[in-house]
Symmetry: C2
Subunit: 314 residues, 2 copies
């Protein structure tokens, strides 16, 4: 129990670090040691903090991992937004990994050193400014996991509340287009007159494929109401209707980019929850487009380690 | 005060009738005497009755007009839906006025004789079944008010929560397409992340025209997010954002029909609230399409009188 032991405990503690993916709807924190996740905790998203400050919410979630030694926390996502821990200015495209991580912001939260990744601002496929916070970390993680993605042109698709399509050229984020797909699906299911409440169920009964077919016709505005009439006139279930809406929205998102942009022939990599990317793979396959899918959590951890390793040389 | 007087009061009472436009969100009742509106009352829509039955809601609104004599009430809209006074089956297109009014249903509500107009079911411009309840009454009203509309092909546009585009051929409803425009606008303004809450105001600051221009590019799914980024990056106000969304949705609705359907060269008649049809006139003008606008209330009264006059010969 001499000085040596205390020093080695200190060294171990110094090599422990926390990696946080902190989005609008939830915080996912990972206790990382030499590239191995020792423990994980979940907490509220930036938009769901209630009366708590972001700093208070963060220290509460990480309480069990704090040991009196300074602990570094590496964060991406809405943690760096106006309502987050501290606002981190967007890095402008074209942005390679090195430029991106130079844009990080370091702040002190009690005994925690918080290093927050910037988001990226880029023009979309129509030359209109667009932004992301968090998805860039997953993409840079993917580039370190799959080295062949770091050269040439690649199209990344990150489905979610705000689905992002990101064009990466030789490792640099070049273009970025956001689709409201997930949020719109949620709003329409919860608040609209399109999905009948009450009658069942979970099964989609071919609704997803029917939605994809409707999307090929274009004109989202004209297709929504078919969700309602199919239940009213053709006796479709609420499960079918939800799946139809999902197919319609995902199909319109994919069709919009592939029909319109000049990047339709780039290899496509999906990053996200496997349950969600599976729907996108089905929708792409219906248009005879192939893609690979990477697990979102694996990518965000890899991206946060890229950020953390930069700070080894502080 | 002899028998003669009593008889003439009775005759006057028999010629009084109530005309009701009863939609999802409100009931508008008019006391009509020989084509003149003597009085009007508003009440709750079919979807806003709370614990009241439709019959109880109707008798409460009409209480002041009931005099012990039988009073006939002519209704259109959601009054004839499954949740209304009584379900009236849809009349199938092609449907002329005479076929439509033959589809009416007569029910007794206490001392009231309620005559409910049917809705119409027709295929939309993509050969998918679609339905309306109430708008057909406005259209048939317009056909009696403007005789030139009763011959040849005409495209009617009835903006609202569920905007209807209706092709009428020689006085017969032939096609019908519903757009979710109004409902979607309301959902996006109230629940989405697209329109920033709190900062002002009423002025649109060019947002509507910007939305129309974005709609011309197509791809509604890809354009929604620009509402948010314009506030975040370009400092646009919430007033601009609401107007942009309005222009985007109305522009997409109009573009969808004009670009896609084979009926783009028919004369267009807008029917609705003048404040709302004005936006559609601006959106059509931006595409160099002219149209006439008729007042919705005037049309629905004319249509309900067509229905009522049929029952004179009962």
């Amino acid at each position: 129990m001499g000085i040596g032991n205390r020093a080695s405990v200190g060294a171990v503690n110094e090599r422990r670090r926390v990696l946080c993916d902190w989005g609008s709807s939830r915080l996912r924190a990972f206790l990382d040691f030499e590239g191995v996740v020792l423990d994980r905790r979940d907490g509220p998203g930036i938009n769901r903090l209630g009366a708590d400050s972001p700093a208070a919410a963060l220290t509460a979630v990480l309480a069990a991992w704090r040991s009196g030694y300074s602990l570094d926390v590496f964060l991406c996502g809405m943690a760096g937004s106006r309502n987050g821990l501290a606002e981190v200015p967007y890095v402008r495209a074209p942005a390679k990994m090195e430029v991106w991580r130079q844009g990080r912001l370091c702040v002190r939260v009690e005994d925690l050193g918080a290093i927050i990744a910037p988001g990226i601002q880029a023009e979309n496929f129509r030359d209109v400014p667009d932004v992301m916070r968090g998805e860039e970390t997953q993409i840079f993680g993917a580039l370190t996991l799959e080295r062949q993605l770091a050269t040439g042109n690649h199209l990344f698709v990150l489905p979610g509340t705000h689905s992002k399509w990101v064009l990466v050229r030789d490792g640099a984020v070049a273009r970025l287009q956001t689709h409201l797909t997930g949020e719109l699906f949620d709003l329409l299911c919860r608040y609209s007159s399109l999905v009948r409440v009450g009658d069942d169920p979970a099964t989609d009964e071919g609704g997803f494929e029917a939605g994809l077919r409707a999307a090929v016709r274009g004109g989202l505005a004209a297709s929504f109401f078919a969700t309602r009439t199919a239940q009213l006139i053709e006796g479709r279930t609420a499960g079918w209707a939800r799946a139809f809406l999902s197919g319609l929205l995902i199909g319109a998102e994919i069709g919009g980019v592939l029909d319109e942009s000049t990047f339709r022939s780039e290899p496509i990599t999906l990053i996200g929850d496997p349950g969600l990317t599976a729907f996108y793979l089905r929708a792409l396959a219906a248009r005879h487009v192939s893609a690979q899918a990477l697990d979102g959590e694996r990518c965000v951890l890899a991206g946060l380690r890229v950020l953390a390793d930069a700070d080894r040389s502080f």
